[in-house]
Subunit: 200 residues, 2 copies
Amino acid sequence: MTIQEPVTARPAGRPRSEKAEKAIIEATLDLIGEGTGIAELSIEAIASRAGVGKTTIYRRWSNKEDLVLDALATLKAPLPPLAGVSVRDDLITLLDTMRREAGQTRTRCVMNIALGDSDRYPRLLERFFDIAIEPRRQAMREVIRRGIASGELRPDIEVEMCMAILSGAMIWHTKWGPAGDLPADLAERIVDHVLPGLAA
Amino acid sequence: MTIQEPVTARPAGRPRSEKAEKAIIEATLDLIGEGTGIAELSIEAIASRAGVGKTTIYRRWSNKEDLVLDALATLKAPLPPLAGVSVRDDLITLLDTMRREAGQTRTRCVMNIALGDSDRYPRLLERFFDIAIEPRRQAMREVIRRGIASGELRPDIEVEMCMAILSGAMIWHTKWGPAGDLPADLAERIVDHVLPGLAA
DNA sequence: CCCTTACGAAACGGCACCGTTGCGTATCGA
DNA sequence: TCGATACGCAACGGTGCCGTTTCGTAAGGG
């Protein structure tokens, strides 16, 4: 009978540094968030920013896309709790979350890739659609469906179209609106311009 | 009395080739339209594509941004004639123009830069906002204003917000909608989802 | 014909980054 | 203590593009 081993047998030698790994991911997200496109993103810059040797990066990821893929995977999408009282309130909550996050570095990562590199890195885009975009879309979809079910919204509207209209308006402001922070009442104003056309 | 000269006296020597100039601009727009970001766009690639020596490019433009600036300046924005009968018809006409152009290479140039490189090349973005975006925005602005004046639209709506909602929805579909051509009735569906909320 | 300028092509030195390798050191298990 | 692996660092040869220069040729005017 053998001595019991841990299920995942620890390989011999010095274990890989958790800290280095995190620093690499952080540096990657930072650089992307600063406006560096995926194409211009260089392993050397990431290594330098992370205070890490290039070896340490190449030991973990075989190429840039894999690294960015893993970096994006760490982006959580903590959805706001929805009151569920009225469609209007819930939509404002969702859109206002978008507005507040638009100022954050991490969210700018998402936006920059989704807007700028969508054609060139389809794998990347797909991956983080799943991670960062789709959960929020799902939340909005359910709010609208609930509104139709409850009679708050007209039954003949297209759910996906409503979502495109609402988030499109917010994205427009994020990218091309007046410089500086987005106005605090933006979400409310968007909803109040759109919702009357959808209400029963 | 001197012999009359052309107002712009032709300098001595071989004149610059119109053909080369056009080929350079074309090559630039082609490459951008194919998804090449401004940062990755290389003078060597442009020269090669245009069948031109790098010298010929550097003789005319001192750097890449100036070249792209001039290339964008050649993009015309031929606005569709508006019937002016109803706000609905005019908005559909404007949005449908966006939809049809979304498939064209030249328009993709515009979109790619506006969406992807907006942070990194503010001069560029500003310039072609003037050239390509603002005329269309102005047209839409007038349609909406006329609608308010005629009583077709509510007087308390925000004109700029309406524009953000309408064009945001179209842009959303362009970038993230189902692959392939945009459906022919997309403009109509957008307008018919938005307009009822704005109508008097 | 001669002068001037533009042309395409090729080559230059310089730079940034690629992906890899070797080095001396650090950190784990046996 | 020893073997194994990871670490940061520096250097490697290779590549692609930079912006410039040189070359032989082409196309205008006086």
